[in-house]
Amino acid sequence: MSYVLNTPEDRAAMLARIGVGSVDDLFANIPPDLRLGRPLDIPAALGEMELQRHLERLAARNTSAAEAVCFLGGGAYDHFIPSAVDAVAGRSEFYTAYTPYQAEASQGTLQAVFEFQTLMCRLTGLEVANASLYEGGSAVAEAVLMALGVTGRTGEVLVAESVHPEYRQTLETFAANLNCRVRTLPTPDGFLNPDDVKAAANDSTVAVVAQSPNFFGHMEEMQAIGDAARKVGAVFVASFDPVMVGVLKRPGDYGADIAVAEGQGLGVPLGFGGPYLGILACRGDAEYVRKIPGRLVGQTTDRNGKRCWVLTLQTREQHIRREKATSNICTNQGLLALRAAVHLTALGPLGLRDTAELCVRKAHYAADVLCQVPGVSLRFKTPFAREFALKLPGDVPAVLAKLRAAGYHAGLPLGRWYPDLAGCVSVAVTEKRTRAEIDGLAAALRAAL
């Protein structure tokens, strides 16, 4: 079953029109000694029913967040997705179209992306947002590349150790191949001390990167960190949580120059890590807009003066500038940007606020009841939003294994990323978690210790 349509008669007529005797003749330019000459060693074809049975069998070997109660966070969260999101994203006029190169035949996608960009500006309090990037980690790397271009500096990039470890690893991979030095500022107390930024920053510092809520779920003093960056003329890159800005201050409110985020919480299924949605917004100064990576949709008019939308400022991009482009990125995450736009529209300001508020309340309730389990305590003293670090008295991997057996994805073992935190887990609570589930986790933890 290869979805081809041409019958043997069609093929014969086509070969005759081309003027060759066989399909093989069309491959004459491939030297015979380079031909494979055997069938590919992959399994034989499956019909749709067999394929479905096979995948259902594989699915049954997974324990998803739909089966076990999920308290996992770390940049991906088990949020509720209104059915309108799937209904719209399932329109095949959206999902089987490509990049809107022909604007006249792509106004649907272009307008939706323009709406997405506007929504991201409103979510961040910043003036310009692009059409999206791949996910939260490469968004941090792209923001730092922007900062290199905007400042023209060659000093250090200062990054809080409390930024998502995988975002930092991504940044370090990019930096290793460019003239860019990344210095990690330790966060032993679960937050970046703004005084440490002041001490480390100087007039060659390219950027300061911080995340709030941070990887542990705790809050950072973003205003003070940003002030320290601004004082030396460094770019302040803020990694934020696009759901929690329903109640928290936005990056623009605390003076971020560039805001980046993992947008998964905006209507994107967990999906084992992707495809997700990279958000990037920045201030509207010309030098920032010139350096922004990826696609941008702009408003204009057609020949009859009618309002419409096009891909714009493309002279930044690889297909025109080639090696001088601001980034090598080609496509955006169009379908995920659409999902986010529909999700935010479905929620509205009050829905986003209520979602964030429920997350905060339930997370604080969860912290209270979990800390009533003997030997369990909050690892850090700083405020948190919907995720927090817990210190456990037992061996963390063994405790988590017992909790898995009891039906809970209970938390992330922080020792995997922070050896000093080997005795700790982070626990995330979304609006989907019920009191019964939280109480159940506390009881299971008590039993597991």
Partner: protein, 510 residues
């Protein structure tokens, strides 16, 4: 029918108080506690972000009516060269939505994701087999990120070999723009290699540019003109003799599945565009998935993690001491890899080979039909795509390739890729894919030939039947409006403290 209902910007449809989503009441104690008792007020916003407020029918009507303003594979023939716009099977969508896959958290324990890991492990093996390159990383999110990842791998390999002086990456002039952009981002210097009159790599120019500082040659094969580089064996030998690596841009794998393999013709690394070759829906510009396959000696440098099998158990292996690190967070664009897996399992070895045979047959057939009215500068046979030129139309009737492209939209066809590759003037790059029928190709070619004879003024004003006529792109770039703000009022959201809107700041809607 041009349905304009609810098609204003969603912000213009907004009316205070409308909602389409309500959350349950707070079921934990302290539901009435002010938030400022849980979080210091300094962290709290005064109000939620100004999002639109609409009811559900408005939302659905808005986005559904917008969707009708798109051309798509499911509604129109979409011969966009280099993008492999083949049919996206519906079964993939239903299977990807199974909660056992869709609701897996990326950081959950390996023991609770054995089915997913098995699928990804097999996908690694399938991609290795199709490429003839044994080590695979599924991490890159798109083709461009795959290129970049492979160049990071090459850079790490050369550093490890004490050959960090290899700073140059050679790129043919017909290559995708992502190639030189990725080279620059990986810290290399991109050097252009010319094409010859046949549209193939100019071996003399290549020879002149290979030196002791050459790190990688990035070649697209079949190339962007749809031609197989017949000298590929010689080319890869030249590079290897100079101690350099050969990278294969896998954008055009749809032409060679089961016929020839990059590893067998001398490539050391390649990326796949899973969304093209193995038919992930293109989503209006993503998501893609750009895994890479490399030779054994490059495997230690791949991004972590990779999926390994210990006995009957699958696990993510992060223990790769020489790894370049990560190019993104989490495992990869699993949803697209999943669809690619479904496709490979549906087709099997014979089906995959048939894909390439029929893609090449369709392209050559369309090429023969189009050649009746347009220049096709390079001799055939072509592979899965070809590049025609409207240069004689320009010369004789002052009609440009873009005019032809726009007029095709009137006839219900998405346009080919225009003005790419850069080496062909007035280029019209067509890739029909294997999932189109002879009748579709016949009808499309008839229209192309008919357009050629139409009134030039009609063509220059095309399209005539779409929701808009040609947009003013110069205005869009000169006076950028990148977000909506309420007309006649200052921006309806406060600028960050201490900052003024600059002249270059995007301004509100007219």
């Amino acid at each position: 029918m041009n349905n304009t209902q609810s098609t204003d910007l969603v912000f213009e449809l907004s009316r205070p108080g409308r909602r389409c989503h309500r959350l349950p009441a707070c079921d934990v104690p302290g539901g009435d506690t002010p938030l400022s008792q849980l979080l210091p007020a300094a962290h709290l916003a005064d109000a939620p972000p100004p999002l639109p407020e609409v009811g559900e029918i408005d939302l659905i009507r808005h986005f559904n009516n917008l969707s009708a303003r798109n051309m798509s594979i499911d509604t129109n023939f979409y011969p966009l060269g280099s993008c492999t716009m083949k049919y996206n099977p519906k079964r993939h969508e239903r299977l990807a939505a199974l909660p056992g896959f869709a609701a897996l958290h990326p950081l959950q324990h390996d023991d609770t994701a054995q089915g997913m890991l098995e699928l990804l492990y097999e996908m690694q093996q399938f991609l290795a087999e199709v490429s003839g390159l044994p080590a695979v990383s599924l991490q890159p999110a798109a083709g461009a990120q795959g290129e970049l990842t492979a160049l990071f791998v090459a850079a790490a390999y050369f550093r490890d070999q004490g050959q960090a002086h290899r700073r140059k990456v050679l790129v043919p002039d017909s290559a995708h723009g992502t190639n030189p952009a990725s080279a620059a981002l990986a810290g290399f210097e991109a050097v252009t290699v010319k094409s010859n009159g046949k549209g193939l790599v100019d071996l003399d120019d290549l020879k002149a540019k290979i030196g002791p500082d050459t790190a990688v040659f990035m070649i697209t094969n079949p190339n962007t003109l749809g031609l197989f580089e017949t000298q590929i064996g010689t080319i890869t030998e030249m590079l290897h003799a100079a101690g350099a690596l050969v990278y294969l841009d896998g954008a055009n794998m749809n032409a060679i599945l089961g016929i020839t393999r990059p590893g067998d013709f001398g490539a050391d690394m390649q990326h796949y565009n899973v969304h093209k070759t193995f038919t992930g829906p293109h989503g209006g510009g993503g998501p893609g998935s750009g895994p890479i396959a490399v030779r054994d000696f490059l495997a230690p440098y791949l991004p972590a993690p990779v999926v390994v099998k210990d006995g009957d158990r699958y696990r993510l292996n992060f223990d790769l001491p020489k790894s370049i690190g990560r190019v993104r967070s989490f495992f990869g664009n699993v949803g697209i890899l999943f669809r690619g897996y479904c496709y490979i399992r549906t087709l099997g070895p014979d089906g995959l080979k048939e894909v390439s045979e029929q893609a090449v047959l369709n392209a050559n057939y369309l090429r023969a039909l189009v050649a009746d009215g347009y220049d096709v500068p390079h001799p055939g046979p072509c592979m899965h795509e070809f590049v025609a030129s409207a240069r004689s139309l320009l010369r004789e009737r002052k009609v440009r390739a873009m005019d032809v492209a726009k007029r095709l939209l009137d006839y219900g066809y998405h346009a080919p890729t225009v003005y790419f590759p850069l080496v062909v003037p007035e280029a019209l790059m067509m890739e029909p894919t294997e999932t189109e029928s002879k009748e579709t190709l016949d009808a499309f070619a008839d229209v192309l030939l008919k357009i050629k004879a139409e009134d030039p003024e009609l063509l220059k004003a095309a399209p005539h039947t779409h929701v808009i006529s040609r947009p003013d792109e110069v205005k869009a770039a000169k006076e950028p409006v990148l977000r909506w703000t309420a007309a006649g009022r200052p921006a309806d959201e406060p600028l960050p403290a201490g900052r003024k809107a600059t002249a270059a700041s995007p301004v509100g809607a007219p």
